[in-house]
């Protein structure tokens, strides 16, 4: 039996064959006793596995999980744990340096503006705590709408819509307190895109990579 024959059998099992291909493979299998036996053995083995189905956890499982949950809000504890002990990957290049410089310059500019012009500023700027104005951008000429979600808005995909210019560059200006923020862009409400200019990326431990920015004074 050739490896190609085995491959055809697995494609048959996976339902990957078009009707005419399927018919041809079935004919071939029926005409070849070794191939036929291979198919029967495979399908019988898979059948007994599939018949096992799911098994449920023991009684009271849900209650035990719920009792084990932390009583305090997880957000703060998780954020602190991530900040203190979370792994950080720094990737420096010219784009990174430029992005960091942009954040720092914007931060300094915001502080100077707050200090020199506080009396005349519009109430739209938060003045309760030091605030850094961060500008995020994503080039997506074909997108119809782009938003940014992250830890600063509890991953709300609708709260911070970005504005598009004529060249297809989407921007958002966010007044943020100093801190570390994970974020992603959401293109057309469904596609989550990392920031190609993000100074840092962070794996959440389960295969997803969030963009991360450090906003400082």
């Amino acid at each position: 039996m050739m490896n190609g024959d085995r491959e055809l059998i697995h494609q048959l099992i996976d339902g990957d064959l078009a009707p005419d291909q399927k018919e041809a493979v079935v004919r071939r299998v029926l005409a070849d006793p070794a191939l036929h036996e291979e198919l029967l053995d495979l399908t019988a083995a898979l059948r007994v596995v599939e018949e096992q189905g799911r098994v449920d956890a023991t009684a009271g499982f849900t209650a035990r999980v719920m009792r084990a949950l932390p009583r305090s809000r997880p957000a703060g504890a998780t954020r602190l744990r991530e900040f203190l002990f979370g792994a950080r990957v720094l990737r420096w290049n010219m784009a990174t340096a430029a992005a960091v410089a942009l954040v720092i310059v914007a931060g300094l500019a915001a502080i100077i503006m707050l200090r020199t012009d506080r009396g005349t500023r519009e109430a739209s700027t938060t003045v309760e705590a030091p605030v850094v104005v961060v500008r995020l951008e994503l080039r997506a000429p074909t997108a119809h709408r782009v938003a940014v979600a992250g830890t600063f808005n509890r991953w709300n995909a609708e709260a911070n819509q970005m504005a598009r210019n004529e060249e297809g560059l989407w921007t958002a200006t966010l007044p943020l307190e100093p801190g570390v923020y994970a974020y992603m862009f959401i293109v057309d409400g469904r596609e989550w895109v990392a920031d190609p200019n993000a100074p840092t990326v962070r794996d959440d431990g389960f295969g997803n990579r969030n963009s991360v920015m450090r906003v400082g004074i």
Partner: protein, 185 residues
């Protein structure tokens, strides 16, 4: 994914992030069977499976802020379970030696009645799964017990669809050899 389910889960997760941890019970009830099955089929031990299942739900709860709704919650949760199973298996390397397996599996001389025993078949299947390399075991469980398609499997364990199919094909061949003449008529 079903939009209504997705929307409800999004609402539950958002509530949990905002401090309403009681709402998490909805997700635990919904996915406890999936989580426990993955853990049990990977580890082959009910106590260990219970512990891993519970730890997985707790880890997922603590990481909800990082979830980001970029995949199905069930896929994300399954990836957490499998990560924990891999860690547990690495820690104790508790796969059943082949000799041990041979002593447990019924031989060719056993009667058809014995082979028909559902419990015995379950034991045989579980021991055959334990003999598979972990990556093969994972894909057999996800494909043939959880009945995920390859796109969903890729969400859970990563990799290309083509690569996953090749892995599934090899896993099935090995599984077939392990089960042949024991449960296969």
């Amino acid at each position: 994914m079903d939009d209504a389910l997705h929307s409800e889960e999004r609402s539950v997760i958002t509530d949990c992030i905002n401090g309403d941890s009681d709402r998490y019970g909805v997700l635990v009830d919904r996915y406890r069977s999936m989580v426990y099955t993955l853990a049990y089929r990977m580890l082959g031990n009910t106590d260990a499976a219970n512990d891993i299942a519970q730890e997985s739900f707790l880890s997922a709860f603590l990481a909800l802020r990082e979830f980001g709704f970029r995949s199905k919650f069930s896929s994300w949760l399954a990836s957490i379970v499998l990560n924990k199973c891999r860690d547990a298996l690495r820690a104790r390397r508790d796969t059943v030696p082949v000799d041990d397996l041979e002593s447990v599996l019924p031989g060719k001389e056993r009667s058809p009645e014995d082979r028909a025993s559902a419990r015995e078949t379950g034991d045989i299947v579980q021991r055959a799964l334990a003999q598979l390399p972990e990556s093969y075991r994972e894909i057999i469980i996800l494909k043939h017990i959880e009945e995920l398609d390859y796109r969903e499997i890729a969400e859970v364990i990563g990799g290309s669809i083509t690569g996953l199919k090749v892995r599934a094909h090899r896993a099935r061949e090995l599984l077939k050899d392990l089960l042949k003449e024991r449960v296969v008529p």
